[in-house]
Symmetry: C2
Subunit: 358 residues, 2 copies
Amino acid sequence: MKSARPITAAIALSLGSGVALADDGMLERAQMLFEPIPESAADLISERNPITPEKVELGEMLFFDPRLSASQTISCNTCHNVGMGGDDNIPSSVGHDWQRGPRNSPTIFNAVFNVAQFWDGRAEDLTEQAKGPIQAGVEMNNTPSNLEATLNSIDEYVQAFESAFPDSDNAVSFDNTAAALEVYQATLITPDAPFDQYLKGDETALTDQQMAGLDAFMNKGCVACHNGVNVGGQGYYPFGVVNRPGADIMPESDRGRAQVTETAQDEYVFRSPSLRNVELTAPYFHSGNVWSLKEAVAVMNDAQLNSLLTDEDVENVTAFLRSLTGKQPEVVYPELPLRSDSTPLPDIPDYPRGSGEG
Amino acid sequence: MKSARPITAAIALSLGSGVALADDGMLERAQMLFEPIPESAADLISERNPITPEKVELGEMLFFDPRLSASQTISCNTCHNVGMGGDDNIPSSVGHDWQRGPRNSPTIFNAVFNVAQFWDGRAEDLTEQAKGPIQAGVEMNNTPSNLEATLNSIDEYVQAFESAFPDSDNAVSFDNTAAALEVYQATLITPDAPFDQYLKGDETALTDQQMAGLDAFMNKGCVACHNGVNVGGQGYYPFGVVNRPGADIMPESDRGRAQVTETAQDEYVFRSPSLRNVELTAPYFHSGNVWSLKEAVAVMNDAQLNSLLTDEDVENVTAFLRSLTGKQPEVVYPELPLRSDSTPLPDIPDYPRGSGEG
């Protein structure tokens, strides 16, 4: 869905329409700016990483397996909790040795529709993304060689990799681990939100307040960065373009995409986040210090929109955002493969054990 | 299943039979000493805590909800992972602020059949047990009042508690949280292991080696502490009664049940663990430092049985223990209720965030 359609003209048209009435061709405008979540995201990755049942099953086991981390206590699901909107609902994740991640954990749901991964877009796709947290010292703190030794020591994993990657000379690899994780995560999409039903033509799917919020969202600038299938996630934009938020929301030390591109014009530029399921993914912003969705809308109004939204608009847009909560994926917890006597042991800093009872 | 039948005579008979042939009335002896896992454990708790669908559903949400912990990052499932045999497969659990629990996390599967909970049996049942980790400083580090404030701030939880406890004046309570957790955990049982099929009369369910292992298990003393429906978990026994294991396996500082009863004769006495699913729950013993099942059998042979088991017996008993792996519960990951703006924030020690990218 990477810039699947030119929407600049539609945005200009939309912004130009000013204070149009809520029912004045609104569905048609919305259909030009957004797309419903499709039934499947397979076509987005199938050319380079075909989706097969074997890969999905392997990817699901890997996603839930804490043995991907050096301590064998942290799984992908720890910070991308499938029961909590696909993220962890804390300001920044707690990783190896209780270290803190630098930025708020983004939801994994619908991530396949984003133009790139991480807040600064430094990973082109979910295969590349998966390799980050596994190795990051403040997250899983693992190494590709220790991970491969772990997986190779577990018969059921060896068989699962060979089934999922029948053409690989070296099926049990770090690269294939990431590829299987991408395939599984591409299944974690949330169709059928009220807004999707609306986009498909059901004009009763949104409440009156949500309709007013959508109108403001399209007419007063939000849509410039939050459009497409993911209502965001499609491009890079400077944060604080009008007014710089406080340091708790936009800490000076995090220069965003400039840290990736080493280009001055990318200072404090971030990939706009998707707003899909946004009510489930507090706290907000890359810094994760704003807990209220309405407050987050107000912050954006000040930082990006020169307070074009009235107080009522802020309420209405907040209501509209709640229409972006889709059907959450049904996940059956996988039975994880049994270790063997040659499986590497967990690497947990040797803190003394508690002296209480257990 | 608390001492449901007198088995002392059966044990004496069994021990007395010496080197009986493997097919010499073995099924009848086994049926006197053990019981298959039943289809349901409802009758064990229903008098004081009736099982209802509403309580199971609530208990499942609570079991997976990291907001039971002060940091909002640790759930029951963190240390009692339903995909890994109901425990965490590390020596002792990693809790709040990366502190270590004092003893190896026991599996939650079939725990309802144990005579009491924790390695020292200090909790009479799973309701009492649930209150421990939630409050323990090295585990979830929460308080009843903060937990109740959290649950009360979440509409869906308030409704779920009111449905589950319709007769409670104060439905959203710490006590009811523990009661719902007990009910959910009482559903986490693993019937239909090969050994259960054998106990039900299928004499082909075990391999020849497993049959030889069962014979040694019954004839050479293991059964004295590991009997009943859970093949253990029914009584208290001194560890190292013949030979004291090394300090890595039996650290001097952990005096076991004596720390609960303050009685000299309970020094280094522990509740015998259930051996159900034991191949899934390495590492072994309360200290969690033995990773190989065969090594664990050898340790017990030396510590408890005066090396009555031959090397071949040790191999065979190990094989028999693998016949205790039952059908793992199928768990659909629950959608956790949405926080509100009044939900207490996570209490995470204010460590600096990693300076890397995220």
